[in-house]
Structures are given as C-alpha cells and as structure tokens.
C-alpha cells in the first residue's frame, strides 16, 4: 500500500515540554489508522503539527510525497487533507447548510455548486433535514456530524477525525462508526483519534499508540491490544504478589 502521509521523526516542544518527540509512522492510501493513547499523550498536538497549526520543532510531514510542514492550514486543506475538532467548532450564527457551504467553497467560487455539494454531504451524514437550522442550536451528536459534513465538503483525500465520538451515546456512536466505514469504502484515507477502545478496534486497520509524546507501539489492532507496554501505559504496572 503506497503511503499518502509520512510522519518522519516529528517532535514538538512547548518550552521545556515535549508534547511529541520523534514520532514516525506512515498512513497508507485508503487505510484507517487509529491514534490512541492516554490523556496528554500528544495526539491532538500531532494533528496540529500535521495540519499546519503548529510547525513541528523537528522532523518532517510528507503528504502525497511532498513536504507540508511549514504550510498554513488553508494550504493543507487545499492539498486535500482536512481535520475535525475535538471540541466542535460550528459557525454558530450561520445555518447548517451555510456551514457546509463554507467547506465546499474551498473548491469552487460558485454558490450554486457549493450549495449542491453541501446538500450532498449533509445527506451522507444524514443531517440534510436540519439544513435550514442555525448550527449553534444543534445537539452535540448533530454537531459532530456537521463537523464531518463540513470537512467532507472540502473534497479531501484524507480526513483526520479528532474524537468524533466523544460525548455521544451508543446509538450515535454506532452511526458515526458506520459513517466512517462507509467513507472508507469510498476510498477516503482516515486517521481517527478515539478513546472508545471497542470502536477503535473495530474501525482501524492499524493502531498507533502514543504515550507521553512518544510512539509506544504500532501494528494491527489485536497485536497492539495485547502489547505489554500498551497495557502498562493504560493500566499501570502489574503488582507482584
């Protein structure tokens, strides 16, 4: 599988704090990679480094073979990589359809085209019936869907989902899982940050585990889940009797 995203020895330091140190892994075309790790492991920081919000202190990020660290987020988006936000960021005083149109306008100057694309993407996430509503008034489950629809409207080749199931009930989570799998079938490469282990095991082709900013393990979900270091990072050392 050819790599669409290559993360090479990426480090990000905030003063004395190493939020990421020497993280390397590849994401193959069409693959779903789960990014897991305890709170504060540096998952979101890594997303920010990949999408241009922070320049990495060291290391390189390659997207479709070319170096993208140092690019601004809008340039990264136009290259075909878009992220969603852990803390959802609806454009509150705009309607749901207008929110998604903002995403679609990354690829067109025509409002008509953007509106059509936006309706399509709202149908994909099953939110088209709320098109005329103000985004600020949506409940959390629908806000998460709106995030995804808006990101999809930019016509990405790669989607970075930051805890898109956080705060959702089981039925809502299930809907999102099916959505992610559906998008995979359409050929979209995805990196998913998620705390729900059951969900992430089901979704991911591969897991990458971060702990205190470093990559702890990488591999197929079953292998990683039985990895001793990973269990230690999540549950602590075994106590000898």
């Amino acid at each position: 599988m050819p790599a669409i995203l290559e993360i090479k020895h990426v480090s990000k330091h905030f003063g004395g704090l190493a939020a990421n140190s020497d993280v390397s892994f590849d994401v193959g075309l069409g693959e779903i990679v789960g990014l897991i790790g305890p709170n504060g492991a540096g998952k979101t920081t890594l997303f920010n480094c990949i999408t241009g919000y922070y320049p990495p202190t060291k290391g390189d990020v390659l997207f479709k073979g070319s170096r993208i660290n140092g690019l601004q987020p809008d340039a990264v988006c136009r290259l075909g990589m878009v992220r969603t936000w852990q803390k959802v960021r609806p454009l509150a005083k705009m309607s749901v359809i207008d929110n998604v149109m903002v995403g679609a306008l990354a690829r067109t100057h025509s409002l008509q085209v953007a509106r059509r694309v936006a309706h399509e993407k709202l149908e994909v996430v099953r939110l088209d019936h709320k098109a005329a509503f103000l985004a600020g008034g949506l409940p959390i489950g629908e806000r998460k869907k709106l995030e995804v629809a808006r990101a999809l409207a930019t016509r990405p080749e790669m989607l970075l989902l930051d805890e898109v199931m956080g705060g959702l009930n089981q039925a809502e989570s299930e809907e999102i899982i099916l959505l992610i799998l559906e998008l995979k079938k359409l050929g979209l490469t995805q990196v998913v940050i998620e705390h729900d282990m059951k969900a992430i095991m089901r979704l991911s082709d591969r897991l990458v585990v971060l702990n205190s900013g470093e990559k702890l393990a990488e591999g197929p979900p079953r292998e990683v889940a039985t990895n001793k270091d990973v269990i230690t990072a999540y549950l602590g050392e075994a106590v000898d009797a």
Binding site: T51, Y53, Q72, P73, D74, C77, R78, V82, R83, W85, R89, P90, L91, A92, K93, M94, S95, D98, M101, V102, G103, L105, A106, R107, H109, L111, A114, A132, F133, L134, G136, G137, R150, A151, T154
Partner: protein, 369 residues
Amino acid sequence: MRALLPTLRAPRGFSAPAFLAYLAVIALVALVPQLSRKPLILHMWIMVFLAIAQGSAWNVVGGYAGQYSVGHAAYFGMGAYITMLLLELHQVAPWYGIAVAVAGSVLLSVIIGSITFRLRGPYFVLASIAMAEIIRLAALHFKDLTRGAEGILLSSIPPLETRWFTVRFLGKVPFFYATLGLAVIVISVNWLVQHTKLGYTFQAIREDQDAAHSLGINPTLHKNLALMISAAFTASAGGLFALYVRFVDPNIAFGIDVSVQMVLICIIGGIGTILGPVVGSVVLVLLSETLRNPKWLVQAGLLGDESPTVAFIEGRLSNAHVLFYGVLVVLVVLFAPDGFLGLLRTAVARVKRRLAARRSPPGQPAGAA
C-alpha cells in the same frame, strides 16, 4: 428554544421584487430636493446618508468579518484630510482628490491591518483605537503638512464641468445627491458581500477563525481584504463630509467619537445585516441632530415657530446628546442584542407564528417549527 428555530434570515440570492423596491425607494428619496429645499431638512438627509455610508462601510469588516475596529476614524480622517489638502493647497479638484484619498486610505488600511490583525478580540479593538490615535496626534503635530489644530478651512469648491452639465457646489442640493449616491453604492457593496463567496468567507472568519482556517480560508488575507473595502468607502465618506462642512481639524477627522459612532450605528441597527446600518443611521442621526439643533423640527412643520419644546431642547439638552447615546446603547445591548432590525424580525416572526397557530385546528400542533 429560539436557537432551534430555523434561521429567520431572508433567503439568499437575487430577488426581483426586493430589487425593484430598492430602486423605488432610491427614486423616491432622490425626489426630495425637488419638492422642498429647506436647508435644515436637507442637512438632516445629508447627515443620514453620510452615516449610512460610514456605518455600512464599517459593517463590511465589523459586521461580516467580525473584526470590531474602533479605529475607523483613521480612514475617515485620511479621506477628509487628503481631499482638503489637495484642494486647498494644490487646487486639485475634489473628485480627483477623493480618488487619491481612497487610494491613500486603502494603503493605510493595509499597513494598519498587517499590524493589528495579528491580534484577536479585545486586543485587536485596543490596537485599532491606538492606531487611529497615533494618526490623530500626528495630524496635530506635523503642522507644516496639516496646519495642526488650526485645521483647514475651505475657501471654495470649483464647479464640476462636463460636456453635458455643470454642477456648482453651492447650497446643499449637490451634496444631497453626492452623499445619496455614496450611500447607495456602499449599501450595494454590502449586498454583494453577503451574496458572494466573499461573504461566506468573512462570516466564517467571524464565527470561528481557526475552523475557517482549516476549511481552506486564509484568515489574514481575507481580514485585510475586508478592511481595505471598508477603508475605501469610509475615506469617501470622510472626503464628502469635509467638503460639505468646508472645514476639517484633527479632532473632527480623527477623533475617537468618529470611530465609535460608526460602531454604534451598526450595533443599534443590527450588526452584519444590509439594512442594519441604514436603520441605525436614521435612529442615531435623528437623535443627535435633534438634540443639537432642534430647529429642523420647525422647518419640517412638526413644531410651531415659538414651540417651547425647541427652547427646552436648546436650553437643557443640547449638550446631552452623548448621554442619550449612552443610554440608547445600554438599552439596545440589554433588550435588543440584534439591534432594531433584530427586534423587528423577532416581532414579525412572532406574529406569523400566532397567525399560524390560530389557523391550525385546536388539538393540532401549531405549524411554528
């Protein structure tokens, strides 16, 4: 529950009836000087038009792009000063002068924007105030260029001669049409902003700059673009204002009350809407001009010549207009956060819902949502 209701915003796009209504209103207003040329009445109209031009110009960057500049006096004053200096010292006709003034202000806006747009929220507001103050103090200090606190008094405006007609800038009528024209242009620019990709881009930045950035929008570029558009029309208003009052000094042109008034017009009318600045201008100008010079009420035939009301306002209230501004703003912020226009829309929506509820048979849910 209010947020859960569908947006009350009018459908986007071109609507022929609305456009015809717009043209009809302009045509009716343009007839005013043909019917009556009472100077105080025309003065009121001119002040309203200038306020609309300023408020709508501010609305592009403040209302749509959400960057609450309280330093627009910089562009207003720049427009006024460049126009006046070119005319009085270099005999450059004002229509060319205003063009130069617009170019100068846009250049200034790029400089100010590239400094202040690094900041967000209240820090941006403070920086914008500081920029305008720097320019005001510079205008006071560099007397060789600006004549300092003495100001510039205009001796005469040359007539505008074209192949077809000649306009002499005597009396108020030419200024009535010039300021009306500017107001119409700036309102149209607001319409264009709202109905194109640019408007979506600006509003996305207003709602959440980081989210907009991740969706392919370059916030720095577009905030500067919004400011440049805004500065261009603010400068035009400044140039026309100076020609109209025939005098400019650093406080009139660059004073902070110029900046504040532009913001208040939008807050009172309804920020980020096309009609908001129009409504806000009418309310604010009527209020402030009435308090400063109530004699227009007599010319309008609303009050008698010897009316005690005029004497009362002139004697007791003429210096209190700032106080009234303050009270009005507090009331609007408390009770009509979306401005007079928002109040009106909420009322219309409520009436519609009541009517719908009355029409639907008892026991059935009302067709409100």
